[in-house]
Structure formats: C-alpha cells, structure tokens
Symmetry: none
Subunit: 206 residues, 4 copies
DNA sequence: CGTTAATCGAGACGGTACGTCCTGTCTTCGG
DNA sequence: CCGAAGACAGGACGTACCGTCTCGATTAACG
C-alpha cells in the first residue's frame, strides 16, 4: 500500500474512465439542436441521447439535470473577449458594448434568454456567469481607466455604475425588447454617447 | 347573482354561463403557487386545476396555454405606477428607478425572471409587457421633460436612451445579479447620479 | 382481479368511465403475444401498450403489475370444464384427467408453467387458481361418488387424496417432464388405472 | 458447470488462472440472497457481483446467463437421497415421499418453484433436474421392487406410474397449494396409503 | 528473471424497460 | 351548455439492469 493520501492528484479513479468522445458528442448534440432552433425547454434528454448516439445513463452520469448540461454546453463555447483598437475611448466602448448583442454563434442570444431564469435561481450558475462576463467587464474597466488617465473621462467616475450603465441596456433590449423605440442597429452608440455625455446640464464646466 | 343578468341586451349564450368563481380560483391558484416559490416551469396545469378545485378542461377552455394563463395571472396584479414628489428631478428619478426593484408582492421578481424568455419569444407577450411598463416609462419621460424645461437637464437629451440607462441596470442586477459589486441598497441612487453626471470630462463647458 | 367494486352498486363513479374497448385490447394484446410464443417474462408493458394501441398509464391504471395483467388475461380464457359420458367411471376419469394436459389454446401450458411460481408466492393468485380448478375437482368428485354409490369404487375412499393422485401426475409431467419414461400419450390412462388398481396385494379380497 | 474444460489434460492455459475463491463467492452470494428470500427473477447480476465482491465480467466469464448460474448454485447443494429403514414397504415409502416436501435448506422449495418454468423451457435444465431426482426415483423403485418380490405389493405394477403417483402430489401441493383441503402434515401418509390401497372395489379378489 | 497472457476489481458504455407524471383531448355525469 | 371529475393516447422523466467494453493491477507459466 502506498503512503499517498486519498487526495492524490495523480491518483487514477478505478474502473473504466469516462469517454471523452461521448462527452463531446453530447455537448455537440445539444449545441447542434439549439442552433437548429429547438426551444431550450423542448430539448429532451432522450432526444439529446439519441442524437449523440449515447445512452441516457451516460448523460445522467455527468450532469444531474438538463439545465446543467445546457449550461456546460454553452460555457464550452468560450466566446472570445473582443479586442479594442485602443485609440478613441468612445470607439473602444462602442466596440465592447456592441459585442454584447452580437455574440452570434449557436443562437447564443436565444440561449441566454432561457438561461437567465436559471441563473437568477441557481447559485452556481451565478458563479459560472460571473466567470463568463467578468473578463468583458475587466476589458471595459481598462478602457475607462485609460480614459480617466488620459483626461478624456472624468477622474471621479463610479466605475461599476458606468459598467452596468453600458451593458444592461444591451442585455435588456436584446432579451425582452424592453423599448421598441430602441430597436435600432445603432443602439450601442446611442448608449455609449448618452453615458459619456450624461444628462445634467453643466452651466459652469462641471 | 340575480336571474336578470342582462349583460348582453340581444344575444345570450345558451346553456350554463361560465363561472367567474372558477376563473378567479384558477388565477388565485397560480398566484399562490408562484408566491410559494414553485418554479414557473414546474407549474403543471394539473396541479393548478387541483389547487383551484377545477377540471382541467375549465382551464383549457379559457386559456390556450399555460404561459398565457400565467401572464394573465401576473397581469391581474395591476401594480400601480409610483407617484413622484415633483420637486427635485433627481429625487423623482430615484423614486421611479427604485420602484423597479421593489415591485414586491407575489414574488413578482422571481416571476419576471421566468417570464423573460417567454417574453423574448412570444409577440403577444411583448405587447402585454409594453402595456405594463409603458406607463412607467411615460412617468419617467415626464420627469425628464420637466427637467429639460426647467434647465435642470440638458435640452438635447436622447430621451429613450436615458430611459433605458435608468431602468436596465435595475432589471439586470435584480434578475441575474449581473455584478456582485453592485449588490447594494443604494444602487438606484448610484445609477441616477451616474446617468445625470455622465462620464466625459468637459474641459470647454460642454 | 382488479375491479374496484364500490360499496354502492348503483352509485356511479364520477368522471369518464374506463373504456371497455381499451381493456379488451390490452387483454387481446397479451394473449396474442403469448400465443405467438413470446416468453412471458420477455413480455414488456411497453410492447403490450404498443400492440394494444394504448398508453402505458391505461394499463397501470387497471393492473398494478405485469403479473396481475397476465393472470387476468389467462383467467379471461374461461376454459370449460370437460363433460363426462357418465357410463364408465374409468372412462370418465380418463376424460377428466386427460383434459388437464390438453387445455390447449393460447399456449396455455407454457403459460401455466410461468404462472406457477407466481401462484406459489401470491395469496390472491392462489385464490384465483382455486376458482379455476375447483370446478374440475368437483366434477371429478362427482364421478368418484357415483362410483362409490354404484359399487364400482370402494366406499371408504380418501376422496381428496384420490383427487390429487389423479391430477398431480399430469401437471408435474407436463410442466417439468418429471420422468422421461412417462412421456407417452396414454399417461392419463396409466395414471387412472394405477389409481384404481392400487399397489397393495390383496390376498383375501380386500 | 459451464467452464469450457481444455481438451488436453496436461496442456495448461496460459495467463492467470481463474480464481476458485471468486467462483465460490459468487455461488455463495446467490445462495445467500435466495435464502434471504429474494425472488429469483429479482436477482440481478449486478447485485450478485456486489454481494460477492466481484466484477460483473467475472460472472459472465463463467456463466453465460443468470439462469445457468442459479442452476449451478442450486446444483451445488447436493441434497442427500434419504435412507430407508427397509422393514415395512409402507414406512419406507412414507419416508421417501415425505422427503420431497422437506428438502429444507436454503429455501429450496421456493427456489424449485422459480426453477420450474426454466426447467420446462430449457433442455439442459431438464437433464440437470433428472440427475437430481433420478436417484430418488431409483431409491423408490428399489423399495417397490422389494415389495413386489416379498409379495407385499402386486407383481404387475406399472412401476413408473406408481412413482409419479407418489411424488407428484407432494410437489404440486407444496408448490401451488393445489388443494387447500390437503394442507395437512400427514399428506405423505395419505398419499402412500391411497396409492397402496387403490380406488377400485374388488368383489372377486382381484 | 523478465515476458506474455489471461485474470481480477471496478465501473463506464449503448441499450431497453421500468413505473410515474404531465399534456391536451375526450367522455361521462349533474346542475 | 357549463362544470368537476377523470380516463384517454402519447411522450419524457430519471432509475435500474443488461451484457459488453476498457482500465490498471495481479498472477501464473514460459522462455
């Protein structure tokens, strides 16, 4: 018997290891069905298994619920954080904000709509969601800080508030068409400009 | 109810008229189950019928789908548009924006989360949703116009953009905890202030 | 049996009554599959439902287990008690005993083999089984009593013992081929003759 | 036993030899579960493997089906043929016949009930069954022949018929409670006496 | 003494069937 | 004709086993 404790990282689980092929086939099945327009709540575990050529047990062995499976599938997409030109602060913000509405592949938008209630409910999904969007927030923060440093932006910004001001309108408008009057392609620019300009009159330069 | 119903002067539907009691019992059953924390997609027509002491057919006779029933149930809540003091523009905006996060009864927040995907999908739900929120938007518009007229606000505002800037952060933060750093009770004030102030520096008075 | 006989005979159960057509279709499906040679433990509720054009719930609503369904199906066959000529006691016994091995339709023999363990285990099945065979036993008793009255048979017979002596060999030989040497078509006659004659030598007429 | 023994006696199969410990553990697991009252068709290979602390493959390597495994397990019990006193033919027969109902260990009776359908179906099981009971039949034949020789029994007996007359009632009554009226402890004696005496009246010494 | 090869435990694999639950429709009855 | 009650065909759920298939680790006999 070895002296290595149970929490040995290179200790191999006994028995036949789980097949990476099956795992990928399942994920692919989910994504392909979603991108074919199957409504997410219509997705049945049975149809996923059939499409993936896999037994239902193989799915349930890995994911305890359909929701977690869908989330994993979506998370596996690994959308890249958009890169910014780095010249104009306004242009960079427009680039980042536009990206929120344009993460196109696999019906991502439709998917996110369906995930929102899940996210709102489930603690772990909130963690997962943070991992997805924090990099985007951070990219935006960098642009804002650059603007503050260069003098393009005010130095006393409530940074987190500005972040949500920029992102939330895109999300809300995209998922629930919050205001029909805003259903125009230049929404990102209008939002960025409104955020930059502010609403208050400044009689004396501030 | 007396036998002299006389709701319709000329044509009376034959047979037994639909019972308003049943209708209300169904709506109440839905609302009570929701406020007890039953997830909206877990709600089954069967359980609703049982809770309401009603046959399933009585439900299907009135609503063609569970979604419409839920929407009707929610719509029946008739939340009042908040009233504003009308003195300070900022204070009025804070009042209106705070209200978004505080429409408390019947787990309204949880409910909305679940309805968002439905709204995103279904045209009619979008119409219904507009009817609910347009009065609130209009109330906000009035405040903004008042500020523009009084000189408190800039005169060239992109009004619709400002509206979404005010409301979207509250919705996003409440439904999906978009940014943990913003989970504070004074979110409404921070948002209003950020919107009013804007982000751009104004070296030359603009 | 599954009939939930209410205390009140003319009291009608509320709701839609169970369809006799479905019930018959299910029974027929079972019998047809059995007579096509499907092994009884291979019979799946799913295949029965499919064959009968019926939902699984419609089966489970009536029978709580596959076994009870099969028993009901078999019981519905209502094999007639064979009639006897009434002249010779020996011939009548041969007729009755032969019938045990010849209840032919629907693979009845194969079926009984599979039911035996169930019968051995389940109290209610024993009751059901008694209802099936008691009429046959009674017919045999009548023949024996007739013989005792007419003097063809001894008057002090252990009637029940004679009954089992006549029937058991047929059952055992048919279900488990208890003794290959007895696998002949005239088994019934040999059994009857051996029972009638007895084994003991009678030097002095008794 | 199902293990494919090598044709060549001194040729040793290469590789690791099969473990006799595992084999015994599997048999023991089956027997213990049966004697704990687990219904034979409820026995799962998986549970047997778990109980025996053995991989499923180790079972399938030795037995191609659960039925064969159970048969092997039962066969390993090797019940002894009862010995007879050898004085009175009647007493010896009672001893032998009683033994049929009293092969007690390991729920043998319950077990046999479950095996009957298998036996009825499977050719090999019939062979195996013959090997088990033929010695008992032979013991009974010896007693009967002794009686015929000594004049205690008639000389023209249909021996095989008498054998089944003696054994079948015990089997049938024990496995399916064929006749509730016969559920008495002295069944063996009643059967033996009835067989010895016969049913026919003998007015003229025959 | 190392190679070879079948075994071992463990457990994942693609499947099939289970028995339950729900959907949306359809009968039945009494009001 | 409406109402409750509940049966109907259908279909997905999540579980349990089936018999097969990898895994790494043993365990002999052969070279």
């Amino acid at each position: 018997m070895t002296s290595t404790a149970a929490a040995d990282p290179d200790k191999r689980a006994p028995g036949r290891p789980r097949s990476a092929r099956s795992e990928q086939a399942i994920i692919d099945a989910v994504l392909s069905m979603i991108s074919e327009g199957v409504a997410i709540e219509t997705l049945s575990v049975e149809s996923i298994a059939a499409r993936a050529g896999v037994g239902k047990a193989t799915i349930y062995r890995r994911w305890s619920s359909k929701e977690q499976l869908v989330v994993d599938a979506v998370a596996s997409l690994k959308l890249p954080v958009p890169e910014v030109a780095g010249e104009s602060v306004r242009d960079d913000l427009v680039t980042l904000v536009s990206a929120i509405a344009r993460n196109a592949p696999h019906n991502y938008g439709k998917l996110m709509n369906c995930l929102i209630p899940q996210i709102a409910r489930t603690q772990e999904l909130q963690h997962w969601y943070q991992q997805i969007i924090e990099p985007r927030r951070e990219a935006t923060r960098r642009v804002l800080r650059r603007g503050m440093a260069s003098g393009e932006l005010r130095a006393d910004l409530d940074l987190e508030a500005i972040l949500v001001l920029l992102a939330a309108p895109m999300i809300v408008q995209r998922t629930m068409r919050w205001n029909p009057a805003l259903d125009t392609p230049d929404l990102a620019e209008r939002v960025v400009d409104a955020v930059l300009a502010g609403a208050a009159a400044r009689p004396n330069g501030r």
